[in-house]
């Protein structure tokens, strides 16, 4: 029964915080907190590709954009109507909107995952840096397409997305991504990914289907980037293509590298630090980005392996399961 303990505690804690936090925190801090949650999802999902598998994707913003616009379009064309119908049928709004948000997130994630498969399959069959170039191109293509399609608002952006995402949903998704990544890291499949990262030729010679594993990790990473995009859309209720530039991808890469390639704890920690840092530096006005860049450089010089290296905080510490399983 111990297996269900940690998820149950997480769920209760999330619901309690969801009710209480907006009362204590002012809206600005609260929004930063939401962005922390979304960035944790982005960083951990990119870590599956760049950290676990050792492939270099620099198009995470593109998958996020696909998920954001995909889920937003679903909600605005169908989701809102279905939710309204459900409320008319005397379902509580929380349930109706929650169900439709979940559907839109799965669709947005699914769309991003399909793009991930199409982009990943040809480029991951090869060894080397092809993925970097292809994902770089993909990210730009997605952004330019959005910019030029009037149906999704083009350069004006897409307003009027219902604000259905809240603290609960954002951190529920973050918790799920972390949980899945931890399970993956302690599994045969995770070991296969690490083996590919360390020596692809040896992994292949030991019977690891390297292409299939790389594509799987990439599709999984893309899916959660899409889900994070969906949450982003349904929290801010406005999307603009300028959010999903190459710089956003770099920001997420910085989180993964700074946290330590392959360390889940590191990604979480770095996502928190790198989201809070630019906000904390608002006090110094013009020098904000200069200081931000400087701090990144200092951190990378003093800890080139990242905050956590490849290590993790001991999950046993929190009463979670360790590898090998508990009886």
């Amino acid at each position: 029964m111990k297996r269900f303990l940690a998820p149950a505690i997480t769920l209760v804690a999330l619901l309690a915080l969801n009710q209480s936090l907006p009362r204590f925190l002012n809206p600005y801090y609260f929004q930063v907190l939401i962005l922390v949650g979304i960035n944790i999802t982005l960083a951990v999902s990119l870590n599956l590709v760049n950290g676990f598998t050792g492939q270099f994707s620099i198009g995470h913003a593109g998958f996020m954009a696909a998920g954001a616009y995909g889920s937003a379009m679903f909600t605005m064309t169908f989701g809102q109507k279905i939710a309204a119908a459900m409320i008319a049928a005397h379902l509580p709004p929380v349930v109706a909107q929650g169900a439709m948000l979940l559907a839109s997130l799965l669709l947005g994630g699914g769309l991003a995952a399909i793009f991930g498969y199409l982009v990943g399959l040809p480029s991951l069959r090869l060894r080397g840096d092809y993925l970097a170039i292809v994902t770089l191109g993909f990210g730009e293509i997605i952004r330019v397409i959005i910019l030029n399609v009037d149906a999704v608002g083009g350069a004006r952006g897409l307003p009027g997305i219902p604000q259905w995402a809240n603290f609960f949903w954002v951190f529920l998704v973050a918790a799920i991504v972390i949980g899945l990544a931890v399970n993956l890291a302690n599994s045969t499949h995770g070991r296969a990914l690490f083996a590919i990262r360390d020596d692809e030729i040896a992994a292949e010679a030991l019977g690891v289907d390297t292409t299939a594993y790389k594509v799987t990790a990439f599709v999984l990473g893309s899916f959660f980037a899409g889900v994070a995009g969906g949450l982003f859309a349904h929290y801010l209720s406005y999307l603009n293509p300028s959010t999903f530039t190459f710089l956003k991808s770099i920001e997420v890469i910085a989180m993964v590298v700074l946290g330590g390639m392959g360390s889940i704890t590191g990604s979480v920690l770095a996502a928190i630090v790198l989201t809070l840092l630019p906000e904390a530096l608002r006090a110094v006005k013009d020098y904000r980005m200069v200081l931000y860049a400087l701090m990144l450089i200092i951190l990378m010089i003093t800890r080139p392996q990242g905050l956590m290296g490849t290590r993790e905080l001991s999950w046993a510490l929190f009463g979670g399961r360790r590898r090998g399983g508990s009886k």
Binding site: R191, A195, A205, G207
Partner: protein, 259 residues
């Protein structure tokens, strides 16, 4: 005479204008321990790469248990029961010794990706079994105490043994050893010879081995094939090879052979 486990049929491997291996014929029966020797650059490792699917031969076929494997991807061939070690050690440096071995056992897992992601009971059982088997394999190779050490923390000779443990964890029918004695001192080579004999008996393996250390090759191989410039110049028992003039010529040069 039983049917060959591995049969290379007129295998040619050409890189541009260079024929690295030319019309190479070799049949290995189940249970045999065959040595592949030859001067540097003779094409020995290319033969390994062709057998394991790193390269697809330009001409000819590789048959395993009567079925063609040349043209399959390397991981498929590994799953059919051919694993190898590498001339320049290729361990996974950022994994523990146990995990290094467990990677190879990966093809024998039953639980799928979904059950791993959600950590189901079936997955937990599978994982525990896999770890137990991997640990056992480390113990067989005398590395039981190093299960949680990082692969790079091992001494050179131990790393060579870890590579063998890893290859064995794939439960191969045919084990390919690429210069297992390279860089070992005489005492370690002695140990290695004992070890190869031991694992061969224990896991009823067929072994093909590339080696420069003639003491090792002559000591444990039942049959030896000699490659020179991609051509097989001799094949036979160790004593036949030792007295074969072509082999002496390939190794020592023409003048010496005729002197």
């Amino acid at each position: 005479m039983s049917a060959p486990l591995l049969h290379l049929e007129k295998v040619t491997m050409q890189f541009g204008g260079l024929k690295a291996v030319c019309d190479f014929e070799l049949a290995i029966r189940p249970g045999e321990l065959v040595g592949l020797i030859g001067p540097n650059g003779a094409g020995k490792t290319t033969v390994f790469n062709v057998i394991t699917g790193v390269y697809t031969p330009t001409r000819g076929r590789v048959m395993l248990d009567g079925a063609q494997v040349s043209g399959l991807k390397a991981n498929r061939i590994a799953c059919r029961g051919v694993t190898r070690t590498f001339q320049n050690i290729r361990l996974f440096p950022r994994l523990t010794c146990l995990d290094n071995v467990a990677v190879a056992a990966h093809q024998h897992r039953k639980a799928g990706l979904a059950s791993a992601l959600f950590g189901t009971n079936a997955f937990q059982r599978d994982e525990a079994l896999l770890r137990a088997q991997s640990l056992e394999m480390l113990q067989v190779l005398g590395l039981g105490d190093y299960a949680d050490a990082m692969a790079t923390e091992l001494a050179y000779g131990q790393q060579r043994r870890l590579e063998i443990a890893r290859a064995l964890a794939g439960r191969p029918k045919l084990l390919l050893l690429d210069e297992p004695a390279a860089g070992l001192n005489p005492q370690e080579s002695e140990e290695l010879m004992r070890l190869i004999t031991e694992i061969r008996r224990r896991f009823s393996l067929t072994i093909l081995l590339i080696e420069h250390d003639m003491k090792v090759v002559m000591g444990i191989c039942e049959r030896i094939a000699v490659l020179d410039y991609g051509l097989m110049i001799a094949e036979g028992s160790p004593s036949e090879i030792r007295s074969n003039p072509k082999v002496i010529e390939a190794y020592l040069g023409e003048d010496t052979a005729h002197a």
